[in-house]
């Protein structure tokens, strides 16, 4: 029985924290909110040189081949510092998905560059009519000659404006889950236009509009009509990456608030002496620590390929998304007037929290999945008796 990160995983986290402490001050976060690209290439290069891109990618492509939990710890630290930029989109959405489902040729042509920090990616899966299931993908791919023609719009794709290669889910037939195919699409392909949108956290998202974009059949990842299991697995990894960011960010929002509660004086004493404030701070700790437990547990199940993994991911997201918002909200309240100002950093955490909470399904969405899973298990148990 051992429920903790390994020493190696802790060392990775520690190194990341030391590096980001210097390289990612909140002045950088703020500057990148207004920056069209949303990250500085110099910092990206440094991250690549430290081996972050390839941490969980195969060694044959220059990666370190570590397990998902190590990457989770790294992303948690990124969340703590609100690190902007397309890391998760590139590495988790693009890299890990390709490593899991791409052909050797596809992997060979993309992953080494990605690991070196020379190539950015994102996963684009439609959520038409607010649907996160396969039915949300309405943009089409139609076979023509030796390839496919892509049409339609995919909305609010993270980091689409900087991606070099887009891993696109498109509908190749009307079968629900059995009608989706994944394509590697060059972001500069003729007929593909990118329309930036602006979420309140200052991260980059865009709508992708495909009008008769041609791709060769070698662009298909996995098999035609066979993308749903790949997408579902990728979404679980992305969802947990959001949870990792949430746990890291909530932890920092808590620390800032606790520090303030120790130093801000009202009625002749530090406000942390008032139980109303002390209890708020204690609740923050409960939120953050419990989120971290759920996160590590789910990440471990995922890397082990356990059948309980999907449910654990839903549990983690349902909890971590809401709890980040709660902690940042209480963080503002603990700060009083100054918490309502743009100058203070607490709103940066709140806004990132809200975007995370509402990305990849909110807690209501995941709660429904959990309920379904409970039912399924109850049926399985009673039929086993």
């Amino acid at each position: 029985m051992f429920f903790d990160l390994t020493d190696e995983q802790k060392a990775i986290k520690k190194a990341a924290r030391d590096m980001l402490e210097i390289e990612c001050p909140r002045s950088y976060v703020r500057a990148m909110m207004d920056d069209a690209r949303g990250y500085q290439p110099e910092l990206w290069k440094k991250m690549a040189d430290l081996g972050w891109m390839g941490l969980a990618l195969p060694e044959r492509y220059g990666g370190a081949g570590l397990e998902f939990l190590s990457l989770t710890g790294l992303i948690e630290e990124m969340g703590r510092f609100l690190l902007p930029g397309p890391f998760v989109s590139t590495v988790v959405g693009g890299g890990l998905t390709l490593a899991a489902a791409g052909s050797p040729v596809q992997q060979e042509s993309i992953l080494p560059k990605l690991v070196r920090g020379d190539l950015l990616m994102t996963l684009a899966v439609g959520t038409d009519h607010g649907r996160l299931d396969a039915g949300g993908v309405q943009n089409s791919a139609v076979r023509q000659g030796d390839g496919f023609v892509l049409n339609g719009i995919v909305r609010l794709v993270p980091d689409a404006q900087t991606a070099d290669i887009i891993l696109l889910a498109a509908r190749t037939s009307q079968q629900h889950e059995e009608g989706l195919t994944l394509f590697l699409v060059d972001a500069k392909a003729p007929g593909l236009s990118v329309h930036p949108q602006y979420t309140t956290d200052g991260r980059k998202v865009a709508n992708l509009e495909f009008s008769s974009v041609r791709v060769p059949s070698t662009a298909v990842v996995g098999r035609v009509d066979g993308a749903w299991p790949i997408i579902a697995a990728a979404q679980r990894r992305l969802t947990l990456s959001l949870c990792a960011e949430a746990v890291g960010g909530a932890g920092m929002a808590m620390e800032i608030s606790v520090e303030y509660a120790k130093t801000r004086v009202a009625f002749g004493r530090p406000i942390g002496m008032f139980q109303a404030i002390k209890h708020k701070c204690a609740n923050m700790l409960v939120q953050v620590e419990s989120g971290r437990f759920l996160l590590y547990y789910a990440a471990w199940l995922l890397q082990e390929g356990a059948s309980e993994a999907p449910e654990a991911v839903a549990v983690a997201k349902a909890w971590c998304g809401d709890s980040y918002t709660k902690v940042a909200s209480d963080g503002i309240q603990v700060h009083g007037g100054i918490g309502m100002t743009w100058e203070h950093d607490m709103h940066l955490f709140l806004k990132r929290a809200k975007v995370i909470e509402l990305s990849s399904g909110d807690s209501d969405y995941h709660a429904e999945h959990i309920a379904k899973e409970l039912e399924r298990r109850a049926t399985a148990i009673s039929s086993a008796r």
Binding site: L156, Q197, G336, M340
Partner: protein
């Protein structure tokens, strides 16, 4: 118990409705009508609207006739508020003046002060802000440090205020100052009514988490204020402040406002798809909206109760903390549901082409965080209820 309005109030309602229909710009309340995006132009529009309302006699309905009011029964002003809210007609251009400073002057001011200020507050010639909080004195307001020293017929003021809402738009400030630094902290405070053109006052807007600048820092250096601008007695300011906070915290039309916002959320839920069907068909969203409806009822009834106290000639006291606390926390829940229904789309800011309703839901969500802080935080309201209403031992 009688929640009907007297016939003269119902007649007045019809008059108000006719007036609003005639005077609100065409397309009002539909997407066709847009207020100016530029804050200066938007402000000018609001000030103009205030003037129209004033010309119609709809500002300061209950104030005494001799000071520019209509001397009307409070039930008329409740009626007016209801209709203004129903039409979503703006009423905020000088809200701090008409809702808070004016009533405080009526209660504590001398004849000269009433003559000097009240009619101008109503006409909008005097736009007011409240200079209370300081960097070191928010919840613990009584520890404020802005100093006023008497020199002949003047007070000379030095210090700093912060979070002063609308100071960048105001030409008068209701200013709390310390006039006796040796006395116990509640006993050395006075209230001054200060013309913001007086030399030595500098206003610096502060940007809020919404991106808008609605509050400010106010710096005061050797500001000379005539002694005649002292409201109430010297060093007796705390009494004035207690009265003023009652006006500040009491509701008026909070219930109606929440009701409007809720109706809008229902429309939003009908028009927004979640998991492939209208959000209004999602049992979770339905439950959330229904819960809001339950709580909005409570806010409305709190308004009635506060109004009843007023109709019986009472003044708002510590019990207004209940209404302020409940409303502020409800408003936060209410304002988060719009963003929630929209999902990720709800987090889009104004400049996005996909933004819904010009980013109003996101703005409301963020702005509501201030509700549990401004006018005394929720923690302070609970302390007041615990100590001054329930009589629990003081912490």
């Amino acid at each position: 118990m009688d929640l009907t309005y007297p016939p003269e109030a119902e007649a007045f309602r019809q008059e108000v409705i006719a007036w609003l229909q005639a005077n609100l710009p065409s397309g009002w309340g539909t997407p066709q009508f847009k207020l100016p995006g530029d804050p200066k132009q938007r402000r000018a529009w609001h000030v103009d609207w205030h003037r129209k309302m004033h010309a119609a006699g709809y500002v300061g309905l209950t104030w005494p006739k001799e000071y520019g009011g209509q001397g009307a029964d409070p039930v008329m002003s409740m009626m007016l508020n209801e209709e203004l809210t129903r039409f979503e007609a703006p009423q905020g251009a000088n809200a701090l003046g008409t809702r808070i400073v004016g009533p405080t002057i009526i209660q504590f001011g001398n004849e000269e002060q009433k003559r000097a200020h009240l009619s101008k507050i109503l006409s909008g010639e005097e736009m007011w802000c409240l200079g209370m909080s300081e960097p070191g004195a928010g919840s613990d307001l009584a520890s404020l440090q802005t100093r006023a020293v008497e020199e002949g017929d003047f007070f000379v003021v030095n210090g700093q205020k912060v979070w002063t809402s609308s100071a960048h738009l105001a030409n008068y400030i209701y200013l709390l100052v310390r006039t006796d630094p040796t006395a116990e902290k509640h006993r050395g405070i006075s209230v001054l009514l200060v013309d913001m053109k007086t030399p030595g006052i500098v206003v610096r807007p502060l940007k809020q988490i919404t991106g808008e600048s609605e509050f400010n820092e106010v710096f005061l250096q050797d500001v000379r204020v005539p002694r005649s601008n002292l409201l109430g007695e010297k060093n007796q300011g705390w009494r004035v402040i207690m009265g003023q906070l009652g006006y500040e915290r009491s509701g008026g039309s909070r219930g109606m406002n929440c009701q409007r916002a809720l109706e809008d959320l229902v429309r939003l839920a009908r028009n927004t798809y979640r998991n492939g069907k209208p959000a209004s068909e999602d049992p979770i969203i339905r439950r959330k909206l229904a819960q809001l409806a339950i709580e909005v009822n409570i806010v409305r009834l709190t308004d009635y109760k506060e109004m009843t106290i007023q109709l019986q000639g009472g003044r708002p006291g510590p019990e207004t903390s209940f209404g302020k606390l409940f409303w502020s926390e409800l408003n936060q829940r209410l304002s988060s549901v719009g963003v929630q229904i929209l999902g990720l789309e709800g987090t889009l800011s104004k400049q996005s082409s996909d933004v819904v309703k010009n980013g109003e839901y996101l703005y409301a969500f963020l702005r509501a965080y201030g509700n549990t802080i401004e006018m005394g935080t929720s923690e302070i309201q609970r302390n007041i209820i615990g100590e001054r209403v329930l009589g629990l031992p003081r912490g």
